[in-house]
């Protein structure tokens, strides 16, 4: 593959347009409140601008953004007290736009332990492959597969 240098400053706005929604959705599933998701979203792209990393491919750029998003979410989660607010309280549109079955499923997905939740969200909702998720989360592909498998088992138990 021909190497190319993709600098953060070259196309900052385009990057926000392209990956902003992906970063925000992932943040929503991890922190579960709108304010925290807003913070993570802004912090990820601010860091991206400040560090000005250079990437060989567009895929590297995306993986970097996802990885940093997860780090910020983890940091935020460990530094705040456990909230009882749910994603549905914060995003009322979810209640109106999704049918009952999907609301139940989403509730179950969001109730999964964080690592399983991330794997299930990225695979089933965002459509990434296990190989891509492994690269984004810097884990072995076998770890991602086992998390998907255990996540599905937990979902099955929760929905029965």
């Amino acid at each position: 593959m021909e190497k190319q240098s993709l600098c953060a400053h070259d196309c900052f706005d385009e990057t926000v347009d392209r990956y902003g929604d992906l970063v925000y959705r992932l943040a929503c599933t991890r922190v579960q409140t709108k304010t925290d998701a807003d913070d993570v979203f802004q912090n990820v792209f601010l860091l991206y601008f400040q560090k000005n990393p250079t990437f060989e491919t567009e895929e590297h750029r995306r993986n970097w953004l996802i990885h940093v998003t997860l780090k910020f979410c983890k940091k935020l989660h460990s530094s705040t007290w456990s909230r009882r607010v749910t994603l549905f309280d914060e995003f009322p549109l979810l209640q109106t736009d999704l049918n009952t079955e999907n609301v139940e499923l989403l509730h179950a997905v969001l109730s999964l332990p964080a690592d399983y939740r991330t794997a299930v969200w990225l695979y089933y909702y965002e459509g990434f492959s296990t190989k891509e998720i492994a690269a984004m989360t810097k884990q072995k592909e076998s770890t991602v597969r086992s998390r998907l498998k255990r996540g599905r088992e937990k979902l099955k138990g929760a929905l029965q």
Partner: protein
């Protein structure tokens, strides 16, 4: 969840305009990373360092007479062992290095393809156990089962599988990474021959450097791990909870000369080692040796000392 519902979900979970606007204002007020400012400092530091090394070498050469250093281990690996015949191109034959009569188990060849990640030698620390051991027993086991398989995009089929696994028992002689008390014990790995593909199966009597993973809780069907699968008939319980970490290439083999036959994907271990190992007609392979030709250009002979040093360096990183 269908496309419409996914669209609704994604539409609801978007940063609002105010959040994006606030981000862009913060970015405007933020200075970019001082990457370019660091560059002159780095260049200056490098120049100072180079000058200092130059001065030190000059002083050193004036103070001590030049002496003949023992040859670099990398250089020695470009020469095959004297006891092994060499081909005109400098390569050595696999059959001259491997244990006499150690034949591959005969298993059906796989024609399937899979998306396989490339091997990284740093797996020596990432795997659950890295050991050196001699194969004391090889058994093949055939499974027979049917299962329902549904992909996330709606494909639903019933699959009849009859995979063959290779159960390989090793006597552990050295532990490179993991529990050192395992030396002297035996361990059995179970590998699906669809992954091993016959070409890389372990052979009885041969000593290998094995990267092992613990797959406790996995069943034998590892091929559709992310679909919705349901066993309909048969037994899929593995006989061993241990498997080869990366089965899609020949494993590192200890030659009877004491050197190691190593795939090129072990980049730092094979660096500078020019002696190719080729699969010659005497290779105890059950099929046509032509099938192994692809690997003839990708195996190197690494002498024992170099191998030990470089493995230690890999583990120390």
């Amino acid at each position: 969840m269908n496309g419409e519902q996914r669209g609704a979900l994604f539409k609801a979970l978007r940063p609002d305009d105010e959040t994006v606007r606030a981000l862009k204002e913060k970015v405007k007020a933020t200075q970019p990373a001082p990457r370019r400012k660091l560059l002159p400092v780095a260049v200056a530091a490098a120049l100072v360092l180079i000058t200092a090394i130059g001065v030190w070498l000059t002083l050193r050469n004036h103070q001590t007479p030049p002496k003949i250093e023992p040859s670099d281990p990398i250089v020695t690996t470009t020469q095959p062992p004297e006891t092994v015949p060499t081909n005109p191109d400098g390569s050595v034959n696999f059959s001259d290095l491997t244990v006499d009569g150690a034949a591959w188990p005969s298993v059906p060849q796989s024609s399937g393809t899979a998306s396989i990640v490339s091997f990284s030698e740093y797996a020596v620390k990432g795997c659950d156990l890295c050991f050196e051991g001699t194969v004391t027993d090889v058994q093949l086991k055939q499974y027979d089962y049917r299962y329902y398989y549904g992909e996330k995009f709606g494909k639903e089929v019933i699959i009849h599988e009859q995979p063959i696994t290779q159960l390989t028992t090793f006597r552990i002689e050295k532990v490179w990474h993991g529990d050192p008390t395992l030396v002297g014990t035996t361990i059995t790995l179970e590998d699906d021959t669809r992954g091993l593909d016959g070409k890389f199966g372990y052979r009885e009597g041969v000593c290998y450097v094995v990267l092992m993973q613990d797959v406790t809780g996995w069943n034998i069907d590892m091929w559709h791990p992310v679909g919705e699968e349901r066993l309909l008939e048969g037994d899929i319980k593995r006989s061993s909870p241990y498997a080869t970490h990366y089965p899609w290439q020949p494993q590192v083999e200890k030659a009877k000369t004491g050197d190691y036959i190593v795939p090129l994907s072990w980049e730092t271990v094979t660096a500078g080692c020019d002696v190719k190992v080729v699969f010659d007609p005497e290779t105890p392979y059950f099929g046509s040796v032509q099938e192994l030709e692809w690997f003839s250009d990708r195996l190197r002979l690494v002498d024992a000392d170099t191998f030990q040093t470089r493995m230690a360096a890999l583990l120390a990183e």
